[in-house]
């Protein structure tokens, strides 16, 4: 939803806020947790969640919040209370990729690289992975046609960290294309064989180490704060 919320979406936005009110009134999870706390710890314990830090109401008096972001890249606000202390963005230091994985470092140095990493938790179904593979193939073919990168010696390549959504006896091994994963092989196999595309479920180097190698020209990520800030850094 865009910011500021456009006129025609305001009713929808208000509706969603009302859903949140309904949630507060009818939820049992937080109530049960509070009951358990009160019977085990003491009758005067209050459950404090992020809701009580400012998401839904202001935090307890005297409490300050360090927030890893900057007003410059956040939404504009009429008021930022003094107990909110923006101190970011913060990215974690990470070692050079050459220290951690020299083989990967050499491969990255071969040409402009696209780094696809959609986060620790996201798992792709065979269909989703195949669809994305089609997009990758299309991109690389167009790049080659356009002579991107300067020709054969500096071609666009893709490092893709892929976690599979597997059921029962299916394989997490990204080199195993049996069953439903055959479609993926059909789509992108030729690029994997040519080592233009590396698909792996594990990259030893941290994302930021890969990004700071200076060979990554595009970061495809899930939009998490760390991914966002690391890519811009």
């Amino acid at each position: 939803m865009p910011f500021p919320v456009p006129g025609y979406l305001i009713p929808y936005n208000i509706f969603l806020n009302l859903v949140a009110v309904y949630m507060l009134v009818t939820d049992t999870r937080l109530k049960k947790t509070t009951q358990q706390l009160r019977s085990s710890i003491g009758a005067d314990v209050n459950l404090i969640t992020a809701n009580e830090l400012g998401v839904l109401k202001p935090p307890p008096p005297g409490l300050r919040l360090l927030v890893s972001n900057s007003p410059e890249i956040d939404y504009p606000f009429d008021t930022i209370p003094p107990y909110i202390i923006p101190c970011g963005p913060i990215v974690r230091a990470s070692p050079d990729v050459a220290e951690v994985d020299p083989a990967l470092a050499s491969w990255l140095a071969r040409g402009p690289t696209i780094y696809i990493n959609l986060g620790t938790h996201l798992a792709a179904t065979p269909k989703e992975a195949a669809d994305m593979a089609r997009a990758v193939c299309h991109l690389l073919d167009r790049a080659d046609e356009a002579g991107y990168g300067g020709g054969k010696t500096q071609q666009l390549q893709v490092l893709w960290k892929l976690k599979r959504k597997v059921f029962k006896d299916e394989s997490q091994d990204v080199n195993d294309y049996s069953g439903a994963w055959q479609e993926m092989r059909d789509v992108i196999g030729r690029l994997v064989d040519a080592d233009r595309v590396r698909i792996t479920n594990w990259v030893t180097a941290e994302p930021k180490s890969v990004l700071q190698s200076h060979h990554v020209v595009c970061s495809v990520n899930h939009g998490g704060a760390s991914s966002f800030h690391e890519a811009l850094w």
């Binding site: 939803m1 910011f3 919320v5 929808y12 936005n13 208000i14 969603l16 949140a20 949630m23 939820d27 999870r29 937080l30 947790t33 358990q36 706390l37 710890i41 005067d44 314990v45 209050n46 459950l47 404090i48 969640t49 992020a50 809701n51 830090l53 400012g54 998401v55 202001p58 935090p59 409490l63 300050r64 919040l65 360090l66 927030v67 890893s68 900057s70 410059e72 890249i73 939404y75 606000f77 009429d78 008021t79 209370p81 909110i84 923006p86 101190c87 963005p89 913060i90 990215v91 974690r92 230091a93 990470s94 938790h121 939009g223 998490g224 704060a225 760390s226 966002f228 811009l232 850094w233």
Partner: protein
């Protein structure tokens, strides 16, 4: 000898929550070796902490005090594992395309985000954390905003504490905006996760922004924010 000051960090072990704390610890080990650092978290955080600690020891020059961080294991299940349980449907809901029904369902499950554990487990983690606090006797406790047992404990016990959030400022200030702006101006919380970061940003000169503390490998130096919204 003056006793060290002690800081205790309470955090979940997921990188999305712990990254900023790991970054702060990395820096503190370099710039404040006289401060004793303690972390209470689940098993997954032990390895990254050890890495940071080893790195700091290697980087410390001869003669300067060796810094390290003390890890206190919480034996409950991690936040993410708790959200994967069938009774907490939040991960499945995130897989759905946004829309009126699906977004409403996510909102109705916000409690599962805020408090992912079963009530008795929650009390167990609370007690474990309380035991760590009693053992460490910190001068300051730093808590990340989804580690709800820590938030509850610090408030109840009246500790000297501060929240350290990887979030955007928007997550904490909407109810305070005048004229009920939370209703009509700002996109509702989960209809919009992270989209504030889709503002166009550009790396421009660093000159006129407030200094932003960013740990650089091997040393900690203040650095101007690289972003300017356009």
């Amino acid at each position: 000898m003056t006793p060290s000051r002690r800081i205790l960090f309470l955090t979940n072990s997921e990188y999305g929550q712990a990254n900023v704390i790991l970054a702060a610890i990395h820096s503190l080990l370099h710039i404040a070796p006289d401060v004793e650092l303690h972390v209470a978290s689940f098993a997954g955080l032990e390895a990254p902490l050890r890495q940071i600690s080893d790195h700091a020891k290697n980087a410390a020059s001869a003669g300067s005090p060796a810094s390290s961080v003390h890890f206190h294991l919480l034996s409950g299940i991690s936040y993410y594992e708790a959200t994967e349980r069938p009774e907490n449907s939040i991960n499945d809901l995130f897989d759905l395309a946004p829309g009126l029904v699906n977004t409403s369902r996510v909102i109705l499950n916000i409690p599962g985000i805020m408090q992912a554990w079963r009530p008795d487990e929650f009390v167990g983690i609370y007690r474990e954390t309380e035991a760590v606090v009693k053992k460490v006797e910190p001068d300051l406790v730093v808590v990340e905003p989804i580690f709800t047992p820590g938030l509850t404990l610090c408030h109840h016990a009246g500790l000297n504490w501060i929240v350290f959030a990887p979030n955007t400022i928007k997550d904490f200030v909407l109810p305070l905006q005048p004229r009920l702006a939370a209703l009509w101006k700002y996109p509702m919380y989960v209809a919009d996760r992270g989209s504030v970061l889709n503002f166009k940003v550009t790396r421009e000169s660093y000159a006129d922004t407030a200094g932003t503390f960013v740990p650089i490998q091997g040393s900690a130096q203040p650095c101007h924010s690289p972003y300017r919204a356009i």
